[in-house]
């Protein structure tokens, strides 16, 4: 059995009396030690999936309306708040996009790391401190024994993100959810963080869910990817075959619309492929049709009349498009 199995998950947001399914019938699974990437534009439900797994949906506004999130055999969708608090930061932890604001400015980083260890692992103050130094060393902060007494403002953005990773990994979680962990960082720092995540995964066997909009990052980091569009799964499968031959026009567009660096650059520069228009508003979520149709060149009447069913290809590759064969 997979480490995490999400089945037919439906998350609804209630805004001004309107209910919108921001995650609409999404299923996927995550094996231990695997890296799975969620890709898509903002507003497509990538982060919402992560929040649903963490039990951190916005209070009163968001709720899991249907489906299950099985983690190690336990359904998190039905777990109590108390149980979720035990799991969060311990068995499943998360790092966020903004390393500048996700650390508490009035505590030293040592205190913030120790605090997690003491809460979840009942370590004493001394043991927690020692472990914190070890963790800082593991995330490659130079001179960890001294830096542990630093406050967040004394560190650079990249170092803060390392501290966030140290906190997330403190209790050796089974799953680490990284929500755009490098978007706010420079590329050279991003490369360092990616390296670090890869090494840590090798050492600890932690499964990683990487949420990103950068296909390059997916290609470098993940084995499998899920492309989300308007709360639904557009495409799902192993990374290499999808990048080589995407079976959903949205995925294809996402790959082609970004100017990439190639092995050998040539004089010619092709016009970038555009995906016209923007992600539909929440009001359109949940409609029984293809939500990408309005931006799609392959649109047919069927796309406007009926929500596409998943078409299967080899090696677990699947695409929710009526014209998947033609893409």
């Amino acid at each position: 059995m997979a480490l995490l199995e999400v089945e037919n998950l439906r998350v609804e947001l209630t805004l001004r009396g309107n209910i919108a399914p921001v995650i609409d019938d999404v299923s996927f699974s995550l094996e231990a030690g695997e890296t799975l990437s969620f890709v898509g534009e903002s507003g497509c439900g990538k982060s919402m999936t992560a929040l649903a797994i963490m039990g951190l949906l916005p209070d009163k506004v968001g709720r899991i309306a249907a489906g299950s999130i099985r983690f190690d055999g336990e359904d998190l969708a039905k777990a109590s708040d108390k149980r979720m608090r035990e799991i969060r930061g311990n068995e499943i932890s998360m790092i966020f996009q903004e390393p500048m604001t996700s650390l508490n400015p009035v505590y030293t980083i040592g205190e913030q790391i120790s605090e997690v260890l003491r809460r979840h692992q009942n370590l004493g103050a001394k043991a927690a401190h020692a472990k914190a130094v070890e963790l800082l060393d593991a995330v490659r902060i130079p001179n960890p024994a001294a830096r542990i007494n630093d406050y967040p403002f004394q560190m650079s953005g990249g170092q803060r993100q390392r501290v966030m990773i140290a906190i997330a990994l403190a209790c050796e979680p089974k799953i680490l959810i990284a929500d755009e962990p490098t978007t706010a960082l420079d590329v050279t720092v991003q490369a360092q963080i990616f390296d670090l995540l890869r090494d840590l995964r090798k050492q600890t066997g932690t499964a990683i869910i990487l949420i990103t909009h950068d296909m390059g990052a997916v290609a470098e980091m993940a084995e499998r990817m899920i492309v989300m569009y308007a709360g639904r799964k557009a495409e799902d499968g192993p990374v290499e075959p999808i990048i080589a031959h995407a079976r959903h026009p949205y995925t294809k567009g996402l790959i082609a619309c970004v100017p990439h660096l190639h092995a050998e650059l040539t004089e010619e520069r092709e016009r970038l492929v555009e995906i016209g228009g923007i992600v539909p508003g929440l009001a359109e979520f949940g409609a029984n049709r293809c939500l990408f149709a309005s931006r799609c060149g392959l649109r047919s009447q069927k796309c406007l009349d009926q929500r596409p069913q998943e078409q299967k290809f080899e090696a677990g590759h699947a695409s929710a498009c009526w014209h998947a064969e033609a893409v």
Binding site: G253, V273, E274, G276, L304
Partner: protein
């Protein structure tokens, strides 16, 4: 030239035409959704209308002795009774409302005028201009406000304009500080840089570009200032430091205070009037704050 991919033969339904919505129209809608604020606004409007047309509909002279002193409310045809000199409390309340409203509004205007000018210049020009202006502001801020206004009134006489000026002079620093901090924030935004890149003059930048965007918290502060000014005036007149020839709510309380045990209503009624009007203003201010705050407006 934009839709390269959308070449499908299947047409989409026409996009609906979006109507232009002024940011203020959206703010008004937001305000209307806040029931407490709307209630406050209604109360406030009633008080203002009463102050304006009241004296014509109810022409009793507030200084005339109309009946026996200490007639309790709703007796002998006097809705709110009479005070220790036998003056009609309804007439006094209506005339007092005029004074309160006039002082409240004009003190707030003075406050905004001085505060915005100083805050805007300090926040826009930075450097030594800011240093000088903010030291000046701090000087006014540390003055004991009640004492300072008592001195002004004692020196220059207890006329209405002087009282208004005194209140204005002691309360502008708050507005100056808010204006300055808003200017400091907004002057760094890219649309201000964009205006500079297209050669806009400094005066236009200050008053045409930054000030309209800095207005919301200033408006809220000004609205609350009206309430503060009314309370302030009440305080001064309670101490007998205002023009005795003008009726105001604070003065009614002040002049009847000796009889508070025998005829509590003479003090309670104007007290309630002050309380209700200041509360109404606070609610409106709160509503404005919510309506004009773009963070709350997002979805």
């Amino acid at each position: 030239m934009s839709d390269q991919t959308a070449q499908s033969e299947v047409a989409l339904p026409e996009e609906p035409v979006v109507k232009a919505r002024h940011p203020l129209a959206e703010a008004a809608e937001m305000f209307a959704r806040n029931k407490a604020a709307v209630a406050g606004l209604i109360v406030l409007l009633i008080i203002i209308i009463a102050a304006i047309v009241g004296p014509f509909l109810y022409p009793t002279d507030p200084f005339a002795m109309v009946w026996a002193p200490f007639t309790p409310p709703a007796q002998e045809g006097y809705l709110l009774g009479t005070d220790y000199l036998g003056r009609d409390l309804v007439a006094m309340l209506i005339h007092g409302a005029r004074v309160s409203i006039v002082i409240g509004l004009s003190a707030a205007l003075i406050t905004v005028f001085i505060g915005v000018t100083i805050g805007a210049l300090a926040g826009f020009f930075r450097g030594w201009v800011e240093e000088v202006l903010m030291r000046f502001t701090e000087f006014f801020q540390v003055l004991p406000t009640l004492l300072f206004s008592m001195v002004i009134v004692a020196l220059f006489g207890a006329s209405l304009p002087m009282i208004t000026l005194a209140i204005g002079l002691v309360s502008w620093p708050a507005v100056a500080r808010i204006t300055r901090s808003e200017f400091l924030r907004i002057r760094e935004l890219e649309y201000v840089t964009a205006s500079r890149a297209s050669g806009t003059s400094n005066m236009k930048l200050i008053f045409g570009v930054i000030l309209p965007n800095a207005a919301p918290p200033i408006i809220v502060q000004a609205a609350l200032m009206v309430g503060t000014a009314i309370l302030f005036e009440a305080g001064l007149s309670f101490l007998g430091l205002t023009d005795p020839n003008v009726v105001s709510w604070g003065q009614i309380i002040g002049s009847n205070r000796q009889y508070i045990l025998d005829a509590a209503y003479t003090v309670t009624i104007p007290g309630v009037a002050i309380f209700v009007s200041v509360l109404a203003i606070s609610l409106v201010g709160d509503g404005l704050n919510d309506a004009l705050n773009p963070k709350l407006r997002q979805r």
